[in-house]
Symmetry: C2
Subunit: 263 residues, 2 copies
DNA sequence: GAGCTCTCTTGACATGGATCAAACGGGCGG
DNA sequence: CCGCCCGTTTGATCCATGTCAAGAGAGCTC
């Protein structure tokens, strides 16, 4: 991990030697003309960069740099201007909003390879905070916006991610508005189990993962208190729907059984 | 109203005589080359059609027809294929999701001149239902998708509406997750007061409107029961924050005072 | 390894909103 | 005009979840 950082950080600009002229359609069979930073990146395939060819990746990588942040770091603040967008490469970012008196609600979680940032708005409507340690691939605001204007495929891809986020937000509104505390906690675990490890074999019956959120975060996500979250987790454990070996270490032996608890 | 219907319905195709060749930049000073259906439409200015010039409007109007529905009509069903998009021209459409056991949550309200429909998805993730009597300008799915592919401005406009909807959904998640019943009801009234009448003078201190939703709808929107909604409305009335002359007739004498109740 | 701190868990109690029940009222058909 | 119907309001009670408080476990410093 420590070494990865150096590799990626210094690798970012290296491929600029590449000739950006009209060899746009060449396939990247050998990866030789893909920027180093992109080679191991989730977003390169499933994220927004999946629509870019190697020349475009190279062009984009000129406006790009890896940023590594540890858990708790505030990445953008509600109501404050944002000067860059980002792709989540590793870890989880929470998007929160607060009421005047301090009540807080998590309104979104972003996993690799999600795009981070509110396009076309001068400032952020939410606070973005690293929930776990995260790696971001930061993109300059103007650079990406220019690229979007030139590249309809990219705009389309971002449109699709935005629509997916809207679907997810609406799905979550049902959870917030109509589910019991027990169902909320089950729904949360199910969400994490199915989103956290993109490489997981989807045919597998169960999942093990390290919770990237504290109990407080979970409470803020579900519109509950820490105590209620804790009690419901204990109940799920008592009923053998989950096993918790350490506070953040969750084992779901049977995803389908968990899903049945989601309401 | 009765006559308007006939005018619009038959007017829709009339302007097809217009020459769609390269006079794209002409301004519509006299409205003479704007399709009849579009002339009185909110979406024409503030909605997605605002980015279209008269030639494009004419082209679009070939795939367009006015549809009038009365309150309660189901316009799209969760999980079912959709064959058309629409613009809301008048009235309010509610988007709902249900849990298996019948618990229901409204996940969005669409007012004129909002765009209605989930772009690029084969079927709807939500149920859309006319909350009041509504007029829709229906657009064929394939027709609009083709137009979007050809017209970056239109795609951008729809992207912006989608982003705004996402912002609103997240705003509402705070309401659902963290506000008290009293704050929820106040927030709902505030939302309606500020969204319902697009022509309202924004400098005016108060608002009067006819609630386009039943108490049951309001409850489904707020994640509450009918009884709780009713009680909170009574409380707001007792405290003179609102006046209710008939069940659906609400008078907010001081918007700012209402906003203070929103948490 | 003792003690500190921080997060989490568990218990006891309080309360906001749900549930159950009944009365009210406006619109509509007869 | 009467009476029914359906949506709404209001009241009485219950219960899920919040609040307050104490204890448990894990990591950190000295």
């Amino acid at each position: 991990m420590r070494t990865l950082f150096a590799t990626l950080a210094f690798g970012a600009g290296v491929s600029d030697i590449h000739d950006s002229a009209m060899d746009t359609n060449r396939k990247d069979i050998h990866n030789s003309d893909i920027p180093v930073l992109c080679r191991s990146c989730e977003a390169r395939h499933k994220g927004m960069c999946g629509v870019l060819d190697s020349a475009e990746l190279v062009a984009l990588s000129r406006h790009t740099r890896l940023a590594r942040h540890s858990a708790g770091k505030e990445l953008a603040a509600e109501g404050m201007p944002v000067e860059s967008y980002a792709n989540v490469m590793r870890g989880v970012v929470k998007l929160t909003k607060v009421l005047e008196d301090g009540r807080q609600q998590i309104v979104g979680l972003q996993f690799a390879p999600d795009f981070l940032g509110r396009l076309f708005a001068p400032d952020s409507a939410v606070t973005a905070e690293a929930a776990s340690d995260v790696d971001l691939c930061r993109l300059s605001k103007s650079g990406l916006e220019r690229l979007i204007a030139e590249n309809p495929k990219l705009e389309r891809r971002l449109m699709e991610q935005t629509l997916r986020e809207l679907d997810e937000a609406r799905e979550w509104m049902v959870t917030l508005g109509r589910k019991t505390a027990a169902e909320k906690v089950a729904s949360f675990l199910y969400l994490i189990a199915t989103h956290l490890d993109p490489s997981a074999d989807s045919e597998q019956k169960g999942r093990k993962f390290i919770l990237p959120l504290t109990r407080g975060d979970v409470a803020d996500f579900l519109g509950l208190t820490i105590e209620t979250v804790s009690r419901q987790l204990s109940r799920l454990r008592a009923e053998k729907v989950i096993a918790i070996s350490a506070v953040t270490q969750v084992d779901v032996p049977d995803l389908e059984r968990l899903r049945k608890r989601c309401g």
